[in-house]
């Protein structure tokens, strides 16, 4: 028996560049041929599902563990209501990623809320707001 790849190599490879394709090996084993980028993206998306589940479990605790939250550890000191809204949006981003077969929506979502050291604008700096509050109280 000749494998799909041996029989139609050019067509199979061209198709795999666009999206994952199922091929049959000479011994009948079914394989999936895909680009490395798609395989990495798929693994990343799976890891995001794991992070979501972990975050959902930690959310139920009174004191979520930053260590267990990993890439979304920044939600550990948010209020329960904020965390719930975060999880709602996280799920929405996962659904979008699943629909579009790319992890980008979730990557952008997690990065969006991650604190960026050294990039805190005075406009949202807590210390600046504290002094503004003092000035308002002294008025």
């Amino acid at each position: 028996m000749v494998s799909d790849l041996a029989r139609n190599r050019r067509e199979v490879v061209d198709a795999a560049r666009r999206e994952p394709v199922r091929i049959r090996d000479a011994d009948g084993t079914m394989l999936v041929l895909t680009t490395e980028a798609q395989a990495i993206d798929h693994a990343l998306l799976l890891s995001y599902f794991e992070i979501y589940i972990r975050a959902s479990i930690e959310h139920a605790h009174d004191a979520p563990s930053p260590a267990l939250l990993g890439p979304v550890s920044y939600i550990s000191d948010w209020t329960k209501q904020q965390r719930q809204m975060f999880l709602d949006d996280f799920l929405e981003a996962l659904s979008e990623a699943n629909r579009t077969h790319t992890a980008t929506p979730v990557t952008a979502f997690i990065d969006y809320f991650a604190p960026k050291p050294g990039r805190v604008s005075p406009l949202v700096d807590p210390e600046v707001l504290s002094r503004l509050g003092d000035a308002l109280a002294a008025r």
């Binding site: 975060f86 969006y112 990039r119 805190v120 005075p122 406009l123 807590p126 707001l129 002094r131």
Partner: protein, 151 residues
Amino acid sequence: MSLTLRKLSRGAIRQLVEAIERNPEAEPWEIEVENILLDGIGASHLYETGSALLLAHDDGQIVGAALHYSDDRLPGAQYIAIVLVDHRYRRLGYGRSLLQAVVTYALGRSGRSYAVWIVHPENAVMLRLSGDLGEALGVDGVTGYVQFVYP
């Protein structure tokens, strides 16, 4: 000029950020909004009741954006964190209209007594508009930003 404000849903904000990140030709003002929101502090406020990211429209065209929220450090007040006019629509009076509109919107939605904001000391236009609308509270001793309050 007929300025209207539209509150962005959280999902729409995420899509906006994604669109900016994917588009190497994003407008400078969009990137400015994103940079302020992306610091993590501004972003987390988007999940609080009484906070809103607003887009300013005139005749269907987006001409600016604004963000307001409440903060424990500012009891009784709404903080106006962003008032930004697309650079292509500056010098047309939108800044004054947008500042007035977001202050009115923030106070109306929150029921709080005051709106407060700060302005970079070299932003002459915003300093003038802020002085016309509100009252200068003082100057931040560390950053030099000028503090304003309304009413």
